[in-house]
């Protein structure tokens, strides 16, 4: 190779190296910003760490639980560890991880959405959430194939670099949950026009989403996860309760197929493990106006529902006055 060509290659290598260093610096800054972002997972971990020594009731489950249960309404000190799209795999992993760190825990409430027994975080097309569990709680991704994904190790990649940039520059970009200190995410109710326009359209879409997410062979998988959690609670002498939050009437009617069999299996599992089961799916105390969409209670109704839960599921448990 001629000397001039060698020199040109060296110059190019130097420039490329410089460009890569600049990009790496940019990436490092972005990663730092992304790690500071108060995602719901981060908020929950920090709150749980702070409240762990005093906690008496823990709530687990997906968004239907996150939006429907406000433990601040209870006499017992509770924390809502449910999260958007949180599948039973993560419920179980969180319970296993936190049980030894919650010395005063008395009860665990499991909220279940309609398709929960049949889905994994991957089947919901929300697998990005799996990366947050790895970063914040050290829980490996539910989908083993995604455990080597770079998003497991980079907050910027998992959150989307452009969104992180917007967030770092002007505070926009990322959709961050506004959680209460008890881990509850309050949602605003729909006004009448929105109810008319949105609920009917949402029923079909949500039902289709759920159908897509549900895996035929999965109820066994979900029941297995639930059984492990109930067994953990029983071994610790904790009260365990499983409940299905209410949904709008139309959505309940759409989602009825296959539900009785699922409920039967769930009830039998609860009976066998000494757990309480309550089904509020078609609860007449909740009307369409109580919802933020077809299966998520709005804040005022969530307050009422939390009161009902305390009466139905936590009765007989005395608050530990030393902690409240």
């Amino acid at each position: 190779m001629p000397a001039s060509e060698r020199a040109a290659l060296k110059r190019l290598a130097f420039k490329l190296g410089l460009a890569l260093c600049l990009l790496a610096a940019l990436g490092a800054w972005l990663e730092g910003e992304a790690r500071r972002a108060p995602t719901s997972f981060r908020q929950k971990r920090l709150a749980l760490e702070a409240q762990a020594p005093d906690l008496q009731v823990l709530v687990l489950g997906p968004s239907v639980g996150l939006n429907a249960v406000d433990p601040a309404r209870w006499r017992l000190h509770g924390y809502n560890l449910a999260n958007n799209g949180q599948s039973l795999y993560y419920d179980r992993a969180l319970l296993e991880q936190w049980l030894p760190r919650l010395p005063r825990l008395r009860a665990v409430l499991f909220s279940l959405g309609r398709p929960n027994l049949c889905v994994t975080v991957t089947s919901m097309n929300e697998s990005a959430r799996g990366f947050a569990y790895r970063r914040e709680f050290g829980i490996p991704h539910e989908d083993a194939a995604l455990r080597s994904d770079p998003r497991n190790y980079s907050a910027a990649l998992a959150l989307d670099p452009f969104k992180v940039l917007c967030w770092a520059v002007n505070g926009g970009g990322l959709v961050l949950s506004d959680l209460s200190p008890s881990g509850w995410e309050p949602l605003p109710p729909l006004d009448e026009t929105q109810q008319m326009l949105q609920l009917s359209a949402l029923v079909a879409r949500k039902h289709a989403d759920h159908q897509r997410a549900m895996m035929v062979e999965a109820p066994g998988y979900g029941l297995g996860q639930m059984e492990s959690m109930l067994a953990l609670c029983r071994a610790r002498g904790l009260r365990a309760a499983v409940f299905v939050p209410p949904v709008t009437r139309d959505f309940a009617a759409q989602s009825e197929a296959g539900r009785p069999a699922e409920l039967g299996a769930l009830k039998a599992l609860c009976r066998a493990n000494g757990a309480v089961f309550h089904d509020y799916f078609r609860d007449p105390r909740f009307q369409d106006g109580d919802f933020a969409d077809v299966d998520h209670l709005a804040a005022p109704a969530a307050g009422r529902f939390s009161g009902i839960l305390e009466k139905d599921l936590l009765s007989g448990l005395r608050p530990d006055t030393a902690t409240r």
């Binding site: 060509e5 290659l9 110059r11 460009a19 990009l23 940019l26 990005a128």
Partner: protein, 467 residues
């Protein structure tokens, strides 16, 4: 997209292959390229693929050698065998055979290049049979393996000889820039448009006529960005090794006729079809001058349609192009007179009209392409008849935006605008030769767009790789 330009492992392999090639002595450099291609095929993780490809190469190599020593009948037999493999794979896939390894094979690119090589030998265009290693490199060169472009053995072999001299800074600079630009086309433009297209085609069950019309535009841009992106990445990666591949796309949406479109779209496929299907048929039917040409065009483009797959949508697309070209040929004189009477024989008005009409015909053909099968076509036909009431403009807009939030669709269309600008500017300006004030900000903009706007984790795979 494992094993392709969308996966990190591909770039790792690319870097290793480049180092091995650059450090190898000149006489071993072609072997290094051949080994890199073998490593790429092995990395696909489908054990049957390398075996099938090596056997196919062996068959073509033997047929080629025999053709030189014992007559062109051997090349004919090799062509029949290669075409047989392609047809067998297509038939098996059409019958629903679940051969995961077949889809990783890049079988149509491999076999059509083999046919071109053997046909050139039989016709005397290629005087000598290829050595085995050269043939393997020609057929399985890893950047073009999955999605082309189709190369011809002779010119490709000249490139391989040229690349033996080792790395050149100019090639490397140009190659890396093309690679990055292709990545922008695919990961920023095509992937963002894919997300809009999913909404535009009515994934929520609400497909309507106006939305389908808009979806045609969205899908056309997506298909172009996807295919041109792969082509630029393949050209860029090859250029890093000193190998120049065919540029498959030349501003196709500025075509003034369907024939012109196919001179600008998937150019290497069009040239293959022209040389090995259309021209021979035209020769056979030369006694019927216009009729023979029209029939040859119809057959050639029906074959192009079927090359994409055996679905009804592909067949219709091919026949549609054949009919359009036949119509254009038969009405050429009439149209010429019409425009002459308007004083626009070569005017801008005619050009704009032709570009707009051609673009819409192409978008229509892409709707056949997108639907692929009979059920998809029927659903589209049903959707096309609905939604033309007073709110049609809103529906049309919903199609263009894919029903996505403002930020998302604006970014998508902004990236399309950038793509168009660069393609137009690229015809006049060579960025590598432009002044530093233009060059370095352009590099920076490209790098930042790749970092911030690329949709790497939602990537849908390359559309043309499935053919």
């Amino acid at each position: 997209m494992s094993g392709s330009f969308g996966s990190l492992s591909f770039y790792f392999l690319l870097g290793l292959a480049w180092l091995a090639w650059a450090c190898a002595p000149a006489r071993l450099r072609p072997a290094a390229l051949g080994l890199a291609s073998l490593a790429f095929v092995l990395a696909l993780g489908q054990p049957l693929v390398p075996i099938a490809l090596i056997l196919l190469t062996l068959l073509v190599w033997l047929a080629g050698r025999r053709s030189i020593s014992m007559g062109p009948a051997w090349a004919g037999a090799g062509i029949l065998a290669s075409a047989g493999v392609l047809l067998a794979v297509r038939a098996a896939l059409a019958l629903g055979t679940e051969w995961g390894w077949v889809s990783a094979l890049g079988v149509s690119y491999f076999t059509l290049q083999a046919i071109a090589y053997l046909a050139d030998l039989a016709l005397g265009v290629q005087a000598e049979a290829a050595p085995w290693l050269d043939l393997w490199l020609y057929l399985a060169w890893f950047p073009k393996f999955a999605q082309g472009p189709f190369e011809r053995y002779g010119p490709f072999q000249a490139q391989v000889r040229r690349s033996s001299t080792g790395p050149q800074a100019e090639d490397l600079r140009r190659g890396l820039l093309l690679l990055a630009w292709g990545l922008f086309e695919k990961m920023v433009v095509a992937e963002r448009m894919a997300s809009l297209a999913a909404g535009a085609f009515g994934n929520d069950g609400g497909g309507t006529g106006p939305r389908l019309w808009a979806a045609g535009y969205v899908f056309a841009v997506r298909l172009f960005a996807d295919s041109a992106g792969y082509n630029d990445m393949a050209r860029g990666a090859s250029l890093c090794f000193g190998l120049g591949l065919t540029n498959n796309f030349n501003a196709p949406f500025l075509a003034t006729s369907v024939t012109d479109f196919w001179r600008r779209w998937h150019i290497s496929l069009s040239e293959w079809v022209r040389d090995y299907v259309f021209s021979p048929l035209q020769m056979i039917w030369r006694r019927w001058p216009s009729g023979g040409t029209v029939a040859a065009m119809f057959v050639a483009f029906t074959a192009v349609g079927l090359w994409h797959g055996t679905g009804w949508g592909y067949l219709l697309m091919g026949m549609f192009y054949g009919l359009c070209m036949g119509w254009a040929l038969l009405t050429r004189r009439w149209r010429k007179n019409f425009w002459r009477r308007l004083g626009q024989e070569n005017g801008a008005g005619r050009r704009i009209f032709d570009v707009v009409v051609t673009f819409h015909l192409v978008c229509l053909s892409f709707l056949f392409f997108q639907a692929a099968d009979r059920a998809g076509l029927a659903a589209q036909a049903r959707a096309a008849a609905t939604g033309w009431g007073p709110g049609w403009l809103g529906e049309f807009w919903r199609g263009l935006s894919g029903g996505k939030p403002d930020g998302e669709w604006r970014l998508a269309w902004l990236s399309v605008a950038a793509l168009g600008l660069v393609h137009l500017a690229g015809k006049r300006t060579d960025l590598l030769r432009s002044p530093a004030w233009l060059r370095y900000p352009s590099y920076a903009a490209l790098a930042l767009a790749l970092v911030f706007l690329g949709r790497y984790f939602a990537a849908t795979g390359f559309l043309y790789a499935r053919f």
